[in-house]
Subunit: 490 residues, 2 copies
Amino acid sequence: MEELQISPADPRGSPGKEQQAAGVGILLQIMMLVLSFVLGHVLRRHRFNYLPEASASLLIGLIVGGLANISNTETSIRAWFNFHEEFFFLFLLPPIIFQSGFSLQPKPFFSNFGAIITFAILGTLIASIVTGILVYLGGAMYLMYKLPFVECLMFGALISATDPVTVLSIFQELGTDVNLYALVFGESVLNDAMAISLYRTMSLVRSNTDSGQNFFMIIVRFLETFVGSMSAGVGVGFTSALLFKYAGLDIDNLQNLECCLFVLFPYFSYMLAEGLGLSGIVSILFTGIVMKHYSYSNLSDNSQKFVSAFFHLISSLAETFVFIYMGFDIAMEQHSWPAHRQIPPKHQKALWYSGLRGAMAFALALQSVHDLPEGHGQTIFTATTAIVVLTVLLIGGSTGTMLEALQVVGDGRDDSLSEGFEENNGYVAPSYEESSSSGNRFKMKLKEFHKSTTSFTALDRNYLTPFFTTQSGEDDEHDELFHDSRRGNF
Amino acid sequence: MEELQISPADPRGSPGKEQQAAGVGILLQIMMLVLSFVLGHVLRRHRFNYLPEASASLLIGLIVGGLANISNTETSIRAWFNFHEEFFFLFLLPPIIFQSGFSLQPKPFFSNFGAIITFAILGTLIASIVTGILVYLGGAMYLMYKLPFVECLMFGALISATDPVTVLSIFQELGTDVNLYALVFGESVLNDAMAISLYRTMSLVRSNTDSGQNFFMIIVRFLETFVGSMSAGVGVGFTSALLFKYAGLDIDNLQNLECCLFVLFPYFSYMLAEGLGLSGIVSILFTGIVMKHYSYSNLSDNSQKFVSAFFHLISSLAETFVFIYMGFDIAMEQHSWPAHRQIPPKHQKALWYSGLRGAMAFALALQSVHDLPEGHGQTIFTATTAIVVLTVLLIGGSTGTMLEALQVVGDGRDDSLSEGFEENNGYVAPSYEESSSSGNRFKMKLKEFHKSTTSFTALDRNYLTPFFTTQSGEDDEHDELFHDSRRGNF
């Protein structure tokens, strides 16, 4: 188990020296984190949208990795800078995914629920299968590295997980329509859940190819993973909502206790799902959505502010670290590059406008290194990392231009997104009387999806919210919106 | 390196199953954490001071460990519940120690600086040497396990690290004099730094017994560790103060960036010292003190509130986890108990009124398992854990009674501590005209120490505070006191 090495110290060997080396490695990582935050801040301040923060982190990783390559110290720096999937899956990924769910604006999300589900489930399914088939055909025609069909589908699934963060930070910067924002964000978030469930299903299919090869079994397995994990996550979320509703911690000036408990629930959900053999990521995502919508409003005001800031902070740190590591890894891993070079330009173009690949694709690729034999996993990992870097650098930089070309950007006001929240108090209703001039064509398309979700909105307002929170469904709406929008800019 | 096992998964083996087992283990730990917080809260609410929170965590660990022992699943639960010193030193200890320094009230601490330094340095030195000699004599007289003299001194050093948390939570609950509080807290905090430096020095002496056996070398080594680590910590703290003073992040509504950077500095300090071969714990402690006194006031108001709550939260979690683990470990480790049983009652009595042993003693004992050969480390570890459990349960429970007997408790008001902060605005001055009726004899004894520290207070007020913060030394005093006292109850 030599691969769990956030610090590669072996205390039985020479504890002092090894611990020292670990210290230097972490020191380097912290310095790169600080540098990334400062650089990202400088870029944002000068409105240099062509290089978003994720790209800055990636570039810093690339540069440090390149420098380490040029100097002859590769092995020692490599040893310092060696986190692996356990550290990643236990400490970095859960906060990133939870924050995706937790930072969802609940009202626009639920009012666009049908559209989001449709895009996420159908879209990801189609994208995964098409990508998988393309990669398989490419391999069969000797255009690129040849993989078995199931492994191609696994690659298709993992590469279909899009990264919402960069694109949404640009959305927020430029100001877009609230519903489009919720749609894109919700889609990316659920898309991650779909992608990991598909990946897991394919992985299971691969390991017993002889027994359950039929199509029906695959669907059952997929539903098992997705629905099981979702239920676990929603269940933990509702439990926490009831706990905070009845424990009465918000009146007692017990902010620390309240926050400690609140912070433990997501991790509990993640580990519960993993313990049950389900997907912790899908589970923690739904816990995030439910906790934001129900538990959150049962907290005291101070705790609400604190936990928002807390999860934002933790996920920023984790995410920046992941991007730095990806850049570093690309610069270091020369030996696998030839395999990547065989991915044809056509494939890259197909990926071009389908979004950014981020932490989730990276996580799944990291896992595939261990799931797949004979270097196939390594190839997938290298290809994925390269695609993540390319899409973050290229698409991340061009998103602003694209949004403007599609006329979905707000009226040039920087804060139109947050103002939109306060103006459009009635926007959860399926009609759009109060919609502003921009983005009309997108809104028209969204309309048709709304009918399917009014029933859920009604269920939520009449039964769930009164049962799980201390508020009635109606009264707090404006209040909550105001809170949310204020926090949106945070 | 099979001992780094917060999750004992080996992804190359059978990832699904092992990751599942890891999930169950962490799940169990999270449930115990939640239980500890809830139990601690219930106890505090019912003013049941005989069982402080740390004891509650210990007991929960003991009970779960005992249950696991009775059932036949010991090995698997043992495997789940297996963190080791890397996880401890990298993730649990730094926040606990930083919080010790960070939650120090700077003004009472600095005005009692001379007294604190004297008690901490001389007191810890004497306690370590006396305990070491007693243990050695006990061993020589076959009353208890025999250890070489240097190892006895190592044990003396590590067992001299007192745990401030439990005793201070009771102080705060009952309300004591501000200066006594600062004295006890400051002493415990610096005492940890002394103990670890002594331990390290003795460890170095042990590893090259032949070369540098003379007394002079020991002192040089000790100063190297202590002064070097302190300088590193203070340096990082001052750097952060200057960064936050001049970066102008507080006016820009960039709370997340501000907090991310603020949170990274302590860890940077810890790893810097470890990378230099010094003591990260001593370094992060002084970084905490300096950052609270200087950097903290350069933050925006929101960030100030957030980082206080953040460090409080993280350290509460880490500390509760450590106490749970200690209880669990005691219940599990039957095979080493005979060694412990040989520690004589006399020794236990000598330790009785010298305070509680907590996380730091435990950390050092954990390290000694690897530093010392032939099971000596294991013996020290078991003895230390037992002493920690005994002192936390017994002394922790009796502290309230003792404080009342010594008449240092406030006038029965629960909030007299915090009110004391606001009433006694002039208490940083060495005279005590405005002192209240309680605790007079202690205050009299403190008086004599104050003369030695007026020079430091003047230096701080006239040069350090204006240079490192955005405030002048005088104006903000009342304001800062008010903030501090409000946060004290948080």
